[in-house]
């Protein structure tokens, strides 16, 4: 099957800044994909080159098999982008904004779909409002709606939840999950790594214009070295043999670091030998944030 997004050896320079330094990436159709990285890593630049807002200096990008330069019409028809900046046209109402956006894609009788998108994003009551009169959260929803007017199979959201309240964030993710369930490919960037971990099947991490990690969320989390185990013992004291791996103790529980799972057996053996009984045990899983921190530190 044609990949939803295919990025090959893409370079982009802004003066002396090498914003994209040979990016290779493939997103399969139907995936929920996260593009992560610290500020300035090149996420927005990558999205811009994909959307034709910026031109790559080298390499190629395809959306649903269409080259974004030579086949720009088809590529753009297949792509919906929610930009990072909260932009709007102050001359128009919400409905006018969506109708105009739809018309740009050649869809002139699209009111049924526009109504549905507004309904699902809770915008219906604001349809006649001028864009200027909307709160930031509402403007964000209109941006999402604008990206969807042409029902693109591939949807890219650039930090859609930055500066957005919890309620809208929840609503937005539910909506995006629904879109994914309906078959849309979703690519998002976010600083909330817990969200990315919860939503996305695969993750690419960017640093200084390079992909430094690309795998399933599960594999990435598994790959991180250093799990932890939390123990409550009777008697309370930790056997001296385990002191070297102790990370801390509080309220009668001890936190130990494990290099890997087999080390747990050695911990249990040491406890048995010392005559300690395990009252409670909890294995603390690393999360995507740990992976992120570790990878960014390593590279």
């Amino acid at each position: 099957m044609t990949p939803a997004i295919q990025v090959r050896q893409v370079h982009k320079r802004y003066g002396s800044v090498h914003a994209l330094a040979g990016v290779d990436l493939e997103v399969r159709q139907g995936e929920f994909f996260a593009l992560l990285g610290p500020n300035g890593a090149g996420k927005t630049t990558l999205i811009n080159t994909l959307a034709g807002l910026a031109r790559a200096d080298g390499g190629s990008l395809r959306v649903m098999g269409h080259d974004v330069v030579s086949g720009y019409r088809e590529a753009r028809r297949n792509l919906g982008v929610v930009p990072q900046e909260l932009v709007f046209d102050p001359f128009f109402s919400v409905r006018e904004t969506l109708r105009i956006q739809s018309g740009y894609f050649g869809l002139r009788r699209n009111d049924a779909w526009i109504d549905e998108v507004m309904e699902r994003l809770d915008l219906t009551s604001r349809a006649g409002f001028n864009m200027r009169a909307l709160s930031g959260g509402m403007k964000r929803r209109v941006l999402v709606a604008q990206a969807l007017v042409h029902k693109p199979p591939v949807i890219v959201l650039d930090e859609p939840t930055a500066g957005v309240d919890v309620e809208l964030r929840q609503a937005l993710w539910n909506f995006v999950k629904q879109l994914n369930a309906d078959g849309h490919t979703i690519v998002l960037t976010t600083h909330y790594l817990d969200e990315a971990e919860m939503l996305c099947q695969r993750v690419a991490m960017l640093k200084q214009g390079r992909v430094v990690a690309l795998d399933t969320t599960q594999n990435l989390v598994r790959s991180v070295s250093g799990r932890q185990v939390r123990l409550r013992l009777a008697p309370d004291a930790l056997p001296p043999l385990l002191e070297p791996i102790r990370l801390g103790s509080e309220n009668g529980t001890h936190l130990l670091s494990l290099a890997d799972y087999p080390e747990l057996e050695r911990v249990m053996a040491a406890l048995r030998e010392a005559g300690s009984r395990v009252l409670e045990m909890e294995i603390v899983q690393p999360d995507l944030e740990d992976v992120f921190v570790q990878i960014m530190r390593r590279e």
Binding site: Y14, N48, A51, G52, L53, A54, R55, Y72, R73, E74, R76, R77, L79, V81, P83, E85, V87, F88, D89, P90, F91, F92, E96, I100, Q101, S102, G103, Y104, F105, G106, L107, R108, Q146, H150
Partner: protein, 251 residues
């Protein structure tokens, strides 16, 4: 062509929603010029035999208003979109350079024509204006506004701030319009200024436009049409090429 129609519609809606500033204000300005200049000069100047100064002035003012408003339409729309960032809404869809060019240029022509027709319609109540060759009037109105619409696109793409656009307007567009013979026949100028006027393309727009009304002009109307039409073609290609390179629009 549906994307083009929508962009045209959006551009028309944009200026129509603020028609107080975009149509009525320039109309008022033109009428004030007419009032003052015709009052002061009517007795002293007769540019062509049998044509009063006020009658002579009206087509010039109409054309000047058309040119200025055509320029203002595309340039202000583009710079506003660039500065607020909403230009992405036009850059993300599959619109071609030609569609973008045609929509902005045509919207400029419509705004220019609306103001131009307004000037002539309002003054028609005060003075009888002959229209000897309506097709010439139409041709020069169309080419003139299209040229300024294209210049507005170029300026809007090039400028990054409002004051850069204002500089373009104040140092290029305004001098060229004021020194084009709106208020006088260039035959009344000293030879040096006459010669200089002949390298100003705006002069040919006004002179040719006026020919359509009075059947009299400073230079042959065919020459004016050739120069104006040629300028339009050259500017169209330049604008299309600029849009094609993505200069200052697609980084």
């Amino acid at each position: 062509m549906d994307g083009f129609r929508t962009l045209l519609f959006k551009e028309l809606l944009r200026f129509w929603k603020v028609s107080f500033q975009t149509v009525l204000a320039p109309l008022l300005t033109a009428l004030l010029y007419l009032l003052i200049f015709s009052h002061v000069l009517e007795e002293h100047v007769q540019p062509y035999p049998g044509v009063s100064y006020t009658a002579f002035l009206i087509p010039g003012l109409a054309m000047m208003s058309m040119l200025q408003n055509s320029f203002a339409n595309s340039s202000s729309s583009l710079i506003q979109s660039k500065i607020t960032g909403n230009i992405v809404f036009m850059l993300l869809p599959p619109l071609s350079h030609a569609e973008i060019f045609l929509a902005y240029a045509l919207a400029s022509v419509v705004r220019g024509a609306t103001v131009g027709i307004g000037v002539i319609a309002v003054t028609a109540g005060f003075i009888e204006l002959p229209v000897k060759f309506p097709l010439w009037v139409l041709a020069f109105a169309l080419f003139g506004s299209a040229i300024l619409g294209s210049l507005g696109i170029i300026a809007g793409i090039w400028a990054e701030k409002f004051d850069q656009l204002a500089a373009f307007q104040n140092f290029i567009i305004m001098p060229l319009t004021f020194l084009s013979g709106v208020f006088y026949s260039i035959h009344s100028l000293p030879p040096f200024w006459q010669a200089l006027s002949h390298v100003n393309p705006f002069f040919y727009m006004i002179d040719g436009f006026r020919y359509g009304f009075f059947g009299a002009s400073d230079v042959a109307p065919h020459l004016s049409l050739a120069i104006v039409g040629g300028s339009f073609l050259a500017l169209s290609f330049l604008t299309l090429w600029l849009l094609g390179t993505g200069y200052k629009l697609r980084q």
